[in-house]
């Protein structure tokens, strides 16, 4: 593993940063609008567009290919919308049909292109899994323009998009058209996917539309902060992917980027403030508190049959009322001064414990 930062690597890195910036932004909108699988479909649908653009022009410049990919992505989206609106089929089926059929058609065209003698080196296959090394300086110019378009419209329509996502009804009452705004968002989504196709590839690009915001959302609930975090995550994984794949022989860029961003999601899933670890700890604490409370209330219920409420009982009698409490919980209550140990297995409430038990019972009933 040798890492050489030379000119091509720097170009790829700039590409990765642009991808991180745009997919970080678009990811937030897609995930919050709960239509992130649309990105999957658009990315797959781009393949026949790439092929047709190549077949028509026999030109492999990314400018031409990406225009083709963009048109195919938009046509795919229009089909999906038409299927959902005009037929009984639901969103998932529409996505599945368009994704797989467009992609299948794309592979058919791809095999035909491979048979054209002059097209042998068209490099179209690189779009399947992405190869950041294939990005040239001229591509960076196009990518930058597209990225500025996305960043610009996000800043310009910040309030409008935010409102559209969180309260589409209010958005409409303010005199905006949700349909038009959605369409603009979809065009921006297509553009951001197009930017990533060269490095990440059509098959895995969907991960860049889903993962960054999914991870960011676990840390931040405010849209602005979430978006910045999402951009940071996406950019980090882009840079890591480019560096790793240029250092390790034959390591494909796209899958590497996706693996890194997935690791970020997994880490966020476990360790973020909303994460599983904290949720698990909180659950354990609550369970313990409930068990402690139930020991007190059970002791109180047993003691009520006696004149003296501090009357001790054998904890084995607890099996009538539920579980027999483990010793460590009893010792915890004892050290808190709620109960006392009469002898061996017999425990009774203290006066503090009695009032605590009454509180618990009042809270329950």
């Amino acid at each position: 593993m040798t890492l050489v930062i030379d000119y091509p690597v720097i170009i790829s890195l700039i590409g990765a940063i642009l991808i991180g910036l745009t997919s970080g932004i678009i990811s937030c909108y897609s995930v919050l609008k709960e239509q992130s699988l649309l990105g999957d479909a658009i990315a797959h649908a781009a393949l026949p567009g790439l092929c047709i653009a190549f077949l028509l022009t026999l030109n492999k410049s990314p400018m031409v290919l990406l225009m083709g990919a963009m048109s195919a992505g938009l046509i795919g989206t229009l089909f999906i919308t038409a299927i959902i609106q005009k037929s009984i089929l639901k969103e998932d089926t529409a996505l599945g049909v368009i994704l797989s059929v467009f992609f299948g058609f794309g592979t058919l065209l791809l095999t035909m292109i491979q048979k054209i003698p002059t097209a042998r080196q068209s490099g179209l296959e690189e779009y399947l899994f992405g190869n950041a090394a294939s990005i040239l300086k001229s591509d960076i110019t196009i990518m930058s323009i597209l990225a500025i378009l996305i960043v610009g419209s996000t800043l310009l329509f910040w309030k409008e998009f935010k409102c559209l996502i969180f309260d589409p009804d209010f958005f409409q009452t303010q005199g905006f058209s949700p349909r038009k705004a959605n369409f603009i968002l979809i065009i921006l989504t297509v553009i951001s996917i197009i930017i990533g196709l060269q490095s990440v590839g059509v098959i895995l690009m969907s991960a860049m539309i889903i993962a960054p915001a999914t991870a960011a959302r676990l840390w931040q609930k405010k849209l602005g902060a979430m978006m910045i975090l999402s951009i940071i995550f996406a950019t980090t994984s882009g840079i890591a992917g480019v560096l790793l794949s240029s250092a390790v022989y034959r390591l494909p860029t796209g899958p590497t980027i996706v693996t890194v961003i997935s690791l970020i999601v997994i880490i966020s899933l476990i360790f973020s403030p909303q994460g599983l670890l904290r949720q698990w700890i909180r659950k354990k604490i609550n369970q313990r508190a409930i068990r402690l409370d139930s020991i007190l209330s059970n002791l109180y219920t047993l003691a009520k049959t006696h004149d003296d409420l501090t009357h001790p009982h054998d904890i084995n009698t607890f099996n009538v009322l539920g579980e027999i409490p483990p010793l460590y919980l009893l010792q915890k209550l004892e050290s808190d001064g709620f109960i006392y140990n009469h002898k061996n297995n017999e425990w009774g409430l203290t006066n503090v414990g009695i009032s605590k038990a009454i509180q618990v019972l009042q809270r329950v009933h």
Binding site: S87, V97, L108, M112, A207, I210, G275
Partner: protein, 367 residues
């Protein structure tokens, strides 16, 4: 058998095997789950391939099916943990599995029979070369046997639990109140999808199988509303894709799997447009018809309200002005009303027939 017949036959088997669970998937709104499963089974195949160093072992199918089920379990766990929405959960797990599989392939398994292109395109064209030979007798291509067995398992599963699946699909609440264990049925179905994806991996590749799982049932759903008919139709459509796809691929010298998908997409588009009851052309036509009929009834009401007034009220000019209709539309409505005998000509203007009066009164009474 000639190789081409064998290819078509394998294609039909793949399509049939895929269509059976596919119908239930799209009815249960889980079509994208097949996309997730078909991508992630690759990881199972690759890992098992490293363990046993051959692509021709039932162990591969088992390992891959387990990976597929792991994907389903993880995805559902993520959804129920409320940390992710359904779409994000489906779209998060499988790219990771797929990316890991691709990295493993490119790093450790290139030049062996497992490369990126086979993974995506599959090579059904080579399927007839891998033959099942027992003793000295040739029993046909291995792929045919594998798909045949998986198809049989799918058919048996759906056949045995047809009623239960039907209830669980259309009325999950009823299914669980009847004690049908919808979640066990669900995992059974998912196991069928996993096995189908794995079995088809060799022949049509890991992504194009999605086309065969989702598209023929979606096409059939546009044509019928009865579950059994839908399953049957989607099998027929799937086989049609195989036959026409192979012919198309041979004609233009392209990938057979890609051609099958293209045919599947074309058939879907045709039924989307022309389906007798649910196609958009039929819908468009009915809507137009309804609009004309409604407008004609409005016309009778308008005439009834102005009965006995100046004849100008009954002229086309007045309709254009009053009802805000365009002239061609007003002409169309007038001729429709004349044909239906709602109105008749009276010199320059029109007047209601007794039948027309009755229609207008009925319409006003019912509104």
């Amino acid at each position: 058998m000639s190789p081409i017949i064998e290819i078509i036959l394998i294609g039909c088997l793949v399509a049939t095997t895929a269509a059976i669970p596919g119908c239930f998937l799209i009815l249960r709104k889980m079509a994208m789950m097949s996309d997730a499963i078909s991508h992630s089974v690759l990881l199972g195949i690759v890992l098992m391939f490293f363990a046993i160093k051959t692509l021709h072992s039932p162990l591969l199918i088992i390992a891959a099916t387990i990976t597929g089920l792991v994907t389903v379990v993880f995805t559902e766990a993520l959804i129920s943990s409320k940390k992710m929405k359904k779409d994000a959960a489906i779209g998060f797990i499988f790219p990771l599995f797929f990316a890991l599989a691709i990295i493993l392939i490119t790093q450790y398994a290139s030049n062996i029979h497992l490369d990126q292109d086979t993974v995506i395109l599959g090579e059904i064209a080579f399927a007839p070369f891998n033959r099942m030979v027992w003793g000295s007798i040739d029993y046909g291509p291995i792929a045919m046997w594998v798909m045949g067995i998986i198809g049989l398992i799918n058919a048996l599963f759906i056949g045995c639990f047809y009623k239960e699946l039907k209830i669980a699909t259309f009325d999950p609440a009823l299914a669980s109140s009847l004690g049908l264990a919808p979640s066990r049925l669900h995992y059974g179905l998912m196991a069928c999808v996993c096995m189908t994806c794995v079995g088809a991996f060799d022949s049509v590749g890991t992504i194009l199988i999605v086309a065969l799982i989702v598209t023929p049932p979606a096409t059939a759903y546009l044509l019928t509303r009865k579950l059994s008919t839908m399953i049957l139709l989607s099998i027929i459509i799937g086989c049609l894709c195989s036959v026409l796809g192979t012919i198309l691929a041979l004609a233009i010298d392209g990938s057979i799997a890609g051609a099958m998908c293209t045919v599947a997409g074309t058939l879907f588009l045709l039924s989307f447009l022309f389906s007798p009851n649910h196609g958009i052309i039929h819908k468009f036509y009915t809507q137009k018809q309804q609009k004309i009929q409604f407008s004609a009834i409005l016309l009778t009401i308008q005439f009834l309200n102005h009965q006995g007034e100046d004849s100008f009220e009954f002229s086309i000019e007045n309709l254009i002005d009053h009802m805000r209709w365009s002239e061609p539309f007003a002409q169309k409505i007038i001729s429709y009303a004349l044909a239906k005998n709602y109105i008749k000509r009276n010199k320059k203007a029109y007047e209601l027939t007794p039948y027309g009066i009755e229609v207008a009164k009925n319409a006003m009474a019912s509104s």
